[in-house]
């Protein structure tokens, strides 16, 4: 239990320390030590727990009171922001939440006794590992990133102390969410992540960021409102505030709060129809996008959905949930094809993968939950790597466009290598995301073939947009200057560690599955799926094959292979050199190569509207069938 409390309190304490120290080098030192401590703490927790679900009593009236005070303070701050920027929807949601809270504290709360406020099981350990390890690495990266960010954005105010304060506070809140058993506590941490996200998106303080930040805030507050409603309902009707008891003993009364919490989860994990905030949030500095909008905060949404899904099992609401997930996966994957902004592509792909997790949670069989957890793990690693690579190229190329990444492998070989690993990690054969998609497909077929068909179409789209991006990167042209000499060591360290992790997670995935995930699934269902041994061997053969062939092959082609003659590219014979040719009337022209975006088929506007309408319909159905 000490480890858990350490993990929740320590980042918050560090964030305050970082806020108060004015010296940059001292802050950096503290940040590094804190990150090492966090990583060590999560790994220690994994060894300490031993796979059991352990619940802790932590009764202290002062904690409750402090939380209530902080919650009210948060709400007041949000109200202030709402009035200052005249976003009355925000004000409305906050007031409604406040009213519900006050009612809850005054009349309902005294009647309930919470036995276990904190808990730890394998699933929360997995999430803690993601938050602790990947979160810390991203914070390290941010140290280098923010330096350059302020050099390039002279117009924005240098608030980096606040920036790091928010980043570490956010880590603390995330640990809080995954370890709390008390719904009220989860809600408290939930609101902190909402606020952190709001402030971090707004960091640049220009009109676009403020607009995006409020969009995120509004939608997340809507989720928060649903969450408070769920808390009130659960206490009044089911008579409990504890997550595990609500699921286990809630019976028919658990369904409504579960659906409301799932609704909150949908807003947080940016599923259709709530996806717009995540794509807009891409204006935030890239480490923020990596930390909040790909690997951790949005994971809180799917975490809570997976957690609550047993309460919904067998109800039409669960089916609706899986359809929302499936729809999100399909539509977001399609839209990603038409995007040329790298961060937008990453955002849509994040939404799509979270959709898959939600679909798995909605299906709720042991196979589905197993693959959902795998998806969360693999996605967190590969996607954060991708974001961090894009963060570097964004500064060095002064653009987020994929179309400007021509010849990246010549200009930034190491960043490109990391990017290629990241992209392969997202969709190619021996890597994690594909393993989990495979497991997902098997889970879907047994449940409902429609979902399998959706997955088939969605993965085809995924294949297209990732490969064309990868193709853009690996295009080769000689005579370009290396532009990556000025990348800071902070960024290098993170990139290297995450690249090795992306590969490493795939190699140790059988161990990961049998040591952490399967016991959890067995605890939930009694039986656990596991992969065919033969298939694992084949995957490992592919993996090892790639790991040996790629470096050896590259070295061979770089140094040993001398038996060739270099000629120009074929340009109808009218070459001037490799990329210039003589056009009509002898004018010299450049062969400029651009990718396909298939806008006629997959335009964002149209698909988004269709997806939005259908998803709103499904959400109404989900809540409607439960309440009626």
């Amino acid at each position: 239990m000490e480890t858990i409390i350490f993990l929740i309190i320590f980042p918050a304490a560090i964030s305050l320390v970082l806020l108060s120290i004015p010296v940059k080098s001292v802050r950096r030192l503290i940040a590094v030590i804190a990150n090492i401590a966090l990583i060590a703490g999560t790994i220690h927790l994994m060894y300490e727990s031993g796979g059991e679900t352990v619940r802790f009593e932590l009764e202290n009236i002062w904690i409750e009171r402090a939380m209530t005070v902080l919650e009210v303070a948060l709400s007041v701050y949000i109200l202030y922001m709402g009035f200052r920027f005249r976003r009355y929807l925000v004000v409305l949601f906050t007031l409604a939440q406040l009213a519900l809270l006050v009612h809850f504290e005054a009349f309902v709360s005294p009647t309930v006794h919470v036995a276990h406020n904190l808990f730890v099981d394998n699933f929360s350990i997995i999430l803690a590992l993601i938050i602790g390890v990947i979160g810390s690495l991203i914070c390290l990266y941010a140290i280098g990133y923010i330096e350059e960010y302020h050099e390039r954005h002279k117009e924005s105010e240098d608030n980096r102390r606040v920036f790091f304060f928010l980043m570490y506070l956010f880590l603390s809140a995330m640990f809080g969410i995954v370890f709390s058993n008390n719904l009220k506590w989860i809600y408290f941490f939930w609101e902190i992540t909402t606020l952190c996200s709001f402030l971090l998106i707004k960091y640049h303080e220009d009109e676009e960021s403020i607009e995006s930040a409020f969009s995120a805030l509004t939608i997340n507050l809507m989720g928060g409102l649903a969450f408070t409603a769920a808390i009130s309902y659960a206490t009044i009707f089911a008579g409990t505030l504890e997550l595990d008891r609500l699921i286990a003993e809630g019976g028919a009364y658990a369904v409504v709060p579960a659906a409301l919490i799932a609704f909150a989860g949908l807003t947080k994990s940016a599923q259709f129809p709530f996806s717009s905030w995540l794509t807009k949030a891409m204006v935030a500095p890239t480490p923020v996008s990596a930390l909040l909008h790909s690997s951790t905060m949005v994971k809180a949404g799917v975490y809570i959905i997976i957690k609550i899904s047993p309460a919904l099992r067998g109800t039409p609401a669960a089916a609706m949930l899986s359809y929302i997930g499936g729809l999100t996966f399909l539509v977001a994957s399609f839209i990603a094809i038409s995007q040329s902004n790298a961060k937008k592509v990453l955002a849509y792909s994040t939404i799509a993968n979270l959709g898959l997790v939600v679909a798995c949670a909605g299906i709720g069989t042991n196979e589905a939950i197993w693959s959902a957890i795998l998806l969360i793990v693999f996605h967190a690693v590969a996607k954060s790597l991708m974001f961090l690579c894009v963060g570097i190229t964004e500064h060095k190329l002064s653009s987020k466009e994929i179309e400007n990444m021509d010849f990246l492998i010549m200009e930034m070989p190491k960043v490109s290598a990391a990017m290629i690993i990241g992209i392969s990690g997202m969709f190619l054969a021996p890597f994690g995301m594909l393993i989990s998609k495979w497991a997902t497909l098997k889970a879907f077929i047994d449940f409902n073939p429609v979902m399998a068909i959706i997955l088939a179409y969605g993965s085809a789209a995924t294949l297209f947009f990732w490969t064309k991006w990868m193709g853009k990167i690996i295009t080769i042209k000689y005579g370009l200057k290396n532009r990556e000499k000025v990348v800071s060591p902070w960024e290098w360290t993170t990139l290297a560690v995450l690249s090795f992790m992306t590969i490493g997670v795939c190699i140790i995935f059988p161990i990961l599955s049998s040591a952490l995930i399967e016991p959890y699934i067995i605890g939930l269902f009694g039986v656990s799926p596991s992969m065919d041994r033969f298939n694992i061997i084949i995957i490992m053969i592919i993996m090892l094959g790639l790991l040996t062939i790629l470096p050896i092959g590259l070295m061979y082609y770089a140094w040993l292979n001398k038996d060739y003659k270099r000629v120009g590219t074929y340009l109808g014979g009218a070459n001037v050199d490799n990329i210039h040719f003589l056009g009509s009337l002898g004018a010299q022209r450049t062969a400029d190569i651009r990718n396909y975006y298939l806008d006629g088929f997959f335009s964002e506007k149209r698909l988004y509207n269709y997806g939005w309408v259908t998803a709103v319909f499904l959400v109404i159905l989900m809540l409607g069938v439960v309440i009626v």
Partner: protein
């Protein structure tokens, strides 16, 4: 007991893989030769000898190695290695989904080879190859899904030994597969990416900048792939090996006829028609099958 039966009932999976690796290029090359001969006869020509594809490949291995950049051939080699690996995985009786994913991996390497050269023709070829992959990918997954629904397993060896004819349960899936087979065999009307017949439009597409032994590898990789694709046809008729053999040959002949009677489609039409066929035949078949198999 036909040789095919004998092969399926072999217990030693290594032997199976070795037989495939050795025999597939021979069979694939002969098929390509027969293909060219029949096409010629359909056009009223005499046509090249049946072993012409082997002459071509051996010649290509003797040509000088010319390249645009040092690394362009690497991806093609990876494509070849993974294509052979994929085929072996299928013929030693592995997991059908895994076969499909490995096939995708090989395809991605081929497309990346096209991208890496920085030549306009290669690039267009690679983009079209990708569009083709996106077009056929859903259907090929649905083939595996359908077979799983009927037989309850993804293992190729178990599907091949299934007693009842799969074609009865999966007629729609089979039609959908025939549609994408035309794409995979790179036959007209879907020979968008690297057809020799499209040279007015895009030179040789994806393989424009690849010559000599690398081109030969693309060709041999394609033979391996063709044998694998015919193997999937066999699975639909696996209840009787003679029927299966006949089906493979007849359908290959059918593809040749299609090849000779259609003009090339645009990529838009290719993409639209394939996804539509996948939905109308493949997806519908699978949904109907699901509900008819419910107790």
């Amino acid at each position: 007991m036909t040789p095919i039966d004998y092969y399926i009932h072999l217990d030693n999976i290594y032997l199976k893989a070795v037989v495939y690796v050795l025999l597939a290029p021979i069979l694939g090359g002969l098929l390509a030769g027969v293909d060219r001969k029949i096409s010629a006869r359909l056009q009223g020509r005499i046509g090249p000898p049946i072993i012409q594809p082997f002459y071509d490949v051996f010649k290509l291995f003797r040509k000088e190695k010319i390249i645009v950049n040092k690394f362009q051939n690497f991806n093609v080699n990876l494509f070849f290695v993974f294509m052979v690996f994929t085929g072996s995985l299928f013929f030693l009786g592995g997991d059908l989904l895994l076969v499909i994913f490995a096939l995708t991996l090989a395809g991605v390497f081929l497309a990346l080879a096209g991208f890496s050269v920085n030549s306009p023709y290669c690039h267009i070829g690679a983009e079209r190859e990708l569009i083709q992959m996106m077009s056929y990918d859903p259907m090929i997954i649905l083939v595996a899904v359908g077979m799983y629904q009927v037989t309850g397993t993804f293992r190729v060896d178990a599907i091949a030994m299934y007693d009842e004819p799969l074609i009865i349960y999966l007629p729609g899936v089979f039609l959908g597969y025939l549609h994408i087979l035309t794409i995979k065999l790179r036959k007209s009307p879907f020979d968008l990416a690297m057809s020799a017949h499209a040279h007015q439009e895009l030179v040789s597409g994806l393989k424009t900048e690849f010559s000599g032994s690398t081109l030969a590898l693309i060709e041999i990789g394609h033979w391996y792939e063709n044998v694998l694709l015919l193997g999937i046809i066999y699975l639909f008729f696996a209840f009787n090996s003679l029927v299966g053999l006949a089906a493979m040959l007849i359908l290959y002949f059918f593809e040749i006829i299609i090849d000779n009677t259609y003009a090339r489609f645009k990529w838009e039409l290719t993409f639209k028609s394939t996804w539509l066929v996948t939905a109308l035949f493949g997806a519908a078949n699978i949904i109907i099958l699901y509900y008819s198999m419910q107790p």
